[in-house]
Symmetry: C2
Subunit: 311 residues, 2 copies
């Protein structure tokens, strides 16, 4: 199984276009741009030939262009990308579907609720229907295993995935009438991806209001988890928002009942633990910071654009 | 007046993620990436301090990051970008509004019809309301002059703009019931931008079904016009679509009644004529091609990312 991190930042990316926080200002002063991160995006493959996108980030076009293994090779509208699996209806997760509008047949996996939000209240996503055949929306249900259809024909063990409810909320742009119809547990999911005896767990948004993710994360060869904020009041203390990290659906890394404490110590020989979806304000982005050191000493890795895993 | 081309390609950009046409394949073989173009995006300013975006391209985040003069300077959520003027509801024109969702007060200028499409049928754009104060939508009406509010306080002559109906159509994602309510002439506009005695005309989509644009283009110091396709059957002959250039709202450059012929010869001493919104399939992108030579010999320039004008 191959996993590539095409983007590792939270919504807005790093640097964020309108932000002068310490991290963003410092990054702008670095001539090489080293350390810049685009918005969280994974691609995963069983064979290195056909790839599934985990979410569709707002930066997806440039992320695809930057990855030579995703260049089209066969015919005029061919791509190694066979589908997209959505973990929420957040802008961060879905906006990039619009980058994929170029007459390209694809399969989009989402919970029925996330599909309904896009199909019923956001007609712009119908541009995906221009393809011939049009994009296929495939409902995925909670706590079930699915087989990625693209991985069936190549003789390898198929890529399977399993969804895990994470207790997050629907985005604020969803109408009240529709929101009332949608089961809350379909709002934000984590996804377990498995091939043969290898397993990856991806959860870029962990609300902390459900503990279902823990066993999946601990039992995986690689888990990539929500590294958005360091402290609960990170945005408030910088004066850029009035809500805590937890109020916008992200358990902070530090502190009592933060992600690092909830996950517990990392045993020798266990899988790799990676923080992703890192907000531009998070001090772990500064490699000289005590927070960065603390995370690494606790056995965690910090995702960067271009990071690769081969299992 | 300052104008910068942040992006010069049509929808999909160049190279396009899923395209193996001659141009895209050649560009992928160039190690430096020289010649790559992001999706059409202009920014314009009276003073070089406050900037108005003409449309909001799908690539807007990376385009802003690549332009040091658009970096924020004052406070935590400050940006020199004061607003966005939309020329249509096409994905190419509006998707980038979602890049601007980071709690940033802005003004969005659009025809009432384009505003209604986004507000009534695409709730995802409500993420712009998170800002404090929220994004202000300002209706612009056809054949009227407006003063850009951001340019009033700095002692310079204000930036004024004027909209011109171009005869295009609403995007196919708009519902039939809403489409029936919308006046067709508000679907696609060109925009005349003026400061003191200087004038720029921008029309990235020219359907050819209206001649209103010609006098504005010819009388401008700089006009940037629809350079999407070279021939009417460009997409059909490559097997990537079933519609002609004209059928999807773009008059081709060449041929009888094409843009070059309609515009007529360029007189010595007249303004600069620039082709923009160039599709990845257009042979003018190949600097060695006869089509590229023909365009340049006829007095036209071909826009590229980073092209600047000072008037």
């Amino acid at each position: 199984m191959y996993v590539t991190v095409l983007g590792s930042a939270a919504g807005g990316g790093f640097p964020q276009w309108n932000c002068t926080c310490r991290n963003c200002s410092h990054l702008r002063s670095v001539r090489t741009g080293e350390g810049a991160r685009s918005q969280a995006q994974l691609v995963i493959s069983c064979d290195g030939l056909q790839w599934l996108c985990l979410n569709a980030s707002p930066d997806l076009r440039s992320q695809i262009i930057s990855a030579p293994f995703l260049a089209p090779t066969r015919g005029t509208r061919a791509t190694p990308i066979t589908g997209v699996l959505l973990t929420s209806a957040d802008v961060d997760s879905v906006m990039g579907l619009l980058h994929l509008r170029e007459f390209q047949p694809l399969r989009v996996y989402a919970t029925p609720s996330v599909r309904r939000i896009l199909q019923e209240e956001n007609r712009i996503f119908r541009v995906l229907e221009r393809a011939n055949p049009p994009v296929i929306w495939q409902d995925i249900f909670l706590d079930q295993w699915f087989v990625s259809s693209s991985s069936l024909s190549n003789g390898k063990a198929p890529l399977r995935f399993h969804t895990v409810a994470l207790g997050g909320e629907y985005p604020d742009y969803v109408s009240e009438p529709l929101r009332r119809l949608l089961p809350p547990e379909e709002a934000v999911i984590g996804v377990v991806l498995a091939q043969a005896n290898k397993q990856v767990f991806y959860a870029p948004s962990l609300s902390g209001r459900s503990a279902h993710w823990k066993d999946w994360a601990r039992s995986s060869d690689v888990c990539l988890l929500d590294g958005t904020f360091w402290t609960d009041n990170e945005l408030i203390s910088l004066g850029v928002a009035s809500k805590t990290a937890r109020e916008i659906g992200h358990i902070p890394l530090s502190g009592s009942d933060g992600l690092l404490e909830q996950f517990g110590p990392v045993a020798r020989g266990s899988g790799r633990r990676v923080l992703i979806h890192i907000n531009n304000t998070n001090p772990i982005l500064d490699e000289e910071s005590p927070e960065n050191r603390e995370v690494r000493h606790a056995g965690w890795e910090i995702a960067y654009d271009g990071m690769e895993f081969e299992l």
